[in-house]
Each structure stands twice: as C-alpha cells, then as structure tokens.
Amino acid sequence: MEHVEHLLGAYHDGELPERTRGHVEAHLEACPRCRDELSHLEALSRTLAAYAVPDLEGRVQQFRAQVTLRLARRRPTGSTASGWWYLVPLALSCALVGLLALFTLPDLLRVAWALLEWFGVEPGALLELRIGVQLSREAVAVLRSVGTLAWVAALYAVLLVLFGSYVGWVSVLWRTKAQPHSGKER
C-alpha cells in the first residue's frame, strides 16, 4: 500500500484537486498510519490556535486615527494629483518658446505684412502692423545689445527643457504601463 503522508498537508488545508482528494480519502479509510498522521496535523492546528494576538479588538478607532495622522498629506503615488509636477517642465518650455516668439516678432510681422500687401488688405491693418513692427524693433534692439549669447543660451534652454519634459513623460508612461500593475509591493 502506498502511503499518502506527502499529500496530507494539502489535504488538511483543502488544497487538493477533487480527484486526488478522493484518492486520499479512500486511502485514509484503510490506513491507520496515515489517519494518525492526519490527526496529528489537525491537533497541531488546534494547538497553534493558542497563539492569539493580545488586545486585537481594542483601540480600533485610535489605530485608525494614528494611521490617518501618519498619512499626513501624502496621496497615493501615481494618482492624477501627484502627477501634476510633470507638467512643470512642459509649462516652462512653453513659456520659453513664447519668449523666443516675442524676440522674433518683427520678422514674423514683416512676413505677415508682406503677405497682406500681396493679398491687397486695407491700409488701416497695414498701419497697425507697421506700428507693431516699429515697437518690436525698438524692444529687440535693446535686447540684442546684450549680445547674441543670450539668444543661443535661450535656445539651448528651450531644447533642454523640451528634452526634460520628454524624459518626464516617458518616465510617466513607463511607470504606468510597463512596470506597474504587478501587484507586488517590492
């Protein structure tokens, strides 16, 4: 007779598939040794129940309050609210792009003016554009006196920030799609 001691743990835990369980039960009917072994496992479980957690029922609300206190103002990571800081580099890059656009306004207006003339638009609109061009030229003349270095620096800053925001978004996508949802804490 082949004993089933190696299966008794899983049998005791209700972890055997139905067919194997039937086989074990049939064996137990006929085998006092395996029955004793199962009784031993059951007795062990009853004995282990003696290891109770003291004061498990008490201080429930206090426990909850302490947890809430420890949460402080932290939010679950990856939630919508905590992801807003990723927008900062994007906002900065937009601001710098806007600044660059301001510097190049005279050129843009000149092109727009030429196009309007070509299409035969009203002189009033052309005058407004001329004033805009003049004001912008004066402003840019002052700024250009600082030197072309500022332009180059600004350009590189924009590129850097754009790259930073790109990396930020890629990391967000990676965190939310590639790695997560494993359900593993660490």
């Binding site: 031993h40 007795a43 282990l48 957690v53 909850r64 420890r70 679950p76 790695q179 949802h181 804490e185």
Partner: protein, 183 residues
Amino acid sequence: MESLAPRPDHELIAASLGGDRSAFGALVLRYRKLVLSVAYRICGDRALADDVAQETFVRVWEKLDIFRPEGNWRGWICRIASNLTVDALRRQNPSVDIAQLSLAALGGQPERRVLEAERAEAVRSAILRLPMHVRIALVLREYEELSYTEIAEALDIPLGTVKSRLSDARRRLGQELAPYMEE
C-alpha cells in the same frame, strides 16, 4: 437612499486611489486585524506589531497605484506587512540572524502558571524559533487562511515552495509542541 451594505473592497480601493481618506479609513478598519495578526505572529511583540501595522497601511496608501484591481488584495497586504515586520526586526537587531531576532522578545515575560497560558507561550516561542521564511508561510496559512496560490503570490515564490515551507514548519512545530498537543 444610500445603501447600508458595506462597500466592497474594490470600490473602497478605487475611491482611496482618488484620494478619498474616509474610504481608505474603512479599509484600515476592515483589514486592521489581518495586518496586526500577521505582524504580531511574525515578530511576537505587540507594540512592534502595532507600529508595523500602521506603517503597513501608510505603505499601502502610497503604493495603491501599483495594485492591479484584479489582484489579490489580502495577499498583497500580507506581503507588505510581512516585509515590513522583517525590516523592523532587522532594524532592531541588525547584527543578529533574522531567524533568531524575535527570540529576544521572549525575555522578560511574566511567569505564567495557567496551563493555557503556558501552551500559548510554548506555541509562540516555537513559532518564533522557525526560520523567517518558513514562519511567514505558516502564519499566512495557519492564521490568515490564505490559499497556497495566495501565499505564492504574496511571497513571490512557486507553489511547490509554499508546500515545502509549510511542510517544514509543521514538521518542526509537531516535534516541538508534542507535549502540548491534545490528539
């Protein structure tokens, strides 16, 4: 009219993920016993278990976004609780073998003369003498009644390893607790 039935876990988890602290508070109340039980039975120290249990819920709150809705919530919480308990024991006694750490907590216990108390102390002592990985598997099965699959997921180990750890734990405990067992 609002239903009086308790909200299911998945609803509370989703609400917590959106920053709803009262929903998370409900989860804390619901799973407090489980977490405390896991922590205490691994470390054997009630005060430490309480601290670990609180930290477990803070960690759960912070990591809610990586929990997948179809995942095993109880197993995930047990995993965090057991990891944090081991970390806490290691912090208390960094130079001591992790399997022996909680034995220190056995010292200074008042003498217990009642038979039941003696038995409880013997069980506690025997469990705390188990190697840590075996102890955690036993606690999750014997006290928290997690299935083998849930334990395997919680501890990130194969199903066969769960079985062998449980078998090892029961063999050791069966020998140690023989004088206290009532067949």
